[in-house]
Symmetry: C2
Subunit: 211 residues, 2 copies
DNA sequence: TAGATTGTTAATCGATTAACAATC
DNA sequence: TAGATTGTTAATCGATTAACAATC
């Protein structure tokens, strides 16, 4: 592990660096200075250099950063060269949309299974997967060993689903449920996506400019 | 406006307070102390008191906070008593899922229109709305004056859609596109939801525990 | 009243920004 | 070499935590 611990603020900026560098690369940029990048991204050059230096020395004095090299270094830090096997629990509107909308391969994952309890959709196709009955979850996990799971189940099913998955070896959760999944379990990580909270934040913003 | 400016960190915690207080209320809690709430939420009692005191004095010494009163105060701060008219641009997989998955009413909004360019879906139903052709956007806006918009269009359409909407009076964006919408326009606010970045963050987490 | 818990000030901690020597 | 720009240390700023007087 590169340096001891990287602060959460830095980590949250990494995917955005990765995206911007990708666009720069597509637009034919070969090199970029921290100052130029800072102007494009709305950050300070200092912050950019501090952030990158958490992981090593990627630049060259007097020159700046090689766009392509820097991008692939950040990609490696983010684990995007991996294809961690992932499953989806809950293939309702949202689960279906996530599964078909996200490019898992470029995000470091491989979606290998989708499960639901609703008999009407079990057996149907979802991309190149067939939606399975949740009763098959255990045998599927022993065989395919998914490491990550997307939770798109109803809020009251979230906690028990999570603990079952942990017992089956799942180590990472992308949680879209209303439920506030916090992981006391050691070595288990959670990324909560609270869409409702996000929309409420927008409401606050409108409310505070109108007042 | 209650106090001068509220820090972003505080604002991001408000929806979560609101959620927890709702659950407490449903479970019959009448009062709660900052210490008890802090244990439930995984925060410090200090932080909770500091946060609430940005907006006024909602507690009572020796007693704590009245759950129901506090919740409704926070709801007012968040503008959840409003029903800001909102439209959806882009009714693909994700747009459709957002529209049907989110309870807009309880988040301070009212979804009053949905637009797309795909002729195959124009005219179809989406909840209680009929999907309209994007060419009707202008006349619709003059008549119904939406204040907020959900962007679920392809990334290359995002920037122009946003600027058109601004010219039609839209003041708030809930942006699901890959595009990094940053608002230099005065009085326009943006809430970016970068699902891809979120998944990448999860990849980082896995990567750093495995190393 | 005595005990509990707030509101608020002061202390600490961490993150961002500024500055500059090192060096390509 | 001279100019540019990094890597890194120091200064600043802001957010979190601790402490405690006020008061219900």
């Amino acid at each position: 592990m590169s340096k001891n611990t990287i602060s959460n603020s830095v980590i949250r900026r990494l995917p955005r660096y990765y995206r911007f560098l990708g666009e720069l690369e597509n637009n034919g940029y070969v090199r970029i200075s921290s100052r130029e990048l800072s102007e494009k991204m709305g950050l300070t050059a200092s912050q950019i250099r501090q952030d990158f230096n958490c992981f090593g020395e990627f630049g060259q004095q007097g020159y700046g950063y090689n766009v392509s090299d820097l991008r692939s270094e950040i990609g490696k830090i983010l684990g995007l060269d991996k294809k961690t096997p992932m499953i989806l629990l809950g293939v309702g509107n949202l689960g279906k949309a996530i599964a078909s909308h996200i490019d898992f391969q470029s995000k470091g994952f491989d979606l290998i299974g989708a499960f639901d309890t609703n008999e009407e959709i079990i057996g149907k196709e979802l991309g190149n997967l067939t939606i399975k009955d949740i009763s098959e979850l255990q045998s599927f996990c022993s065989e395919h060993k998914p490491v990550a799971a997307i939770l798109c189940v109803p809020v009251n099913a979230a906690a028990s689903a999570a603990s079952q998955l942990i017992s089956l070896g799942v180590k990472a959760f992308w949680n879209f449920t209303h439920y506030d999944l916090r992981m006391e379990y050691d070595g288990v990580i959670v990324e909560n996506v609270h869409l409702g909270d996000s929309l409420i934040t927008l409401s606050y913003g409108l409310n505070s400019i109108e007042l």
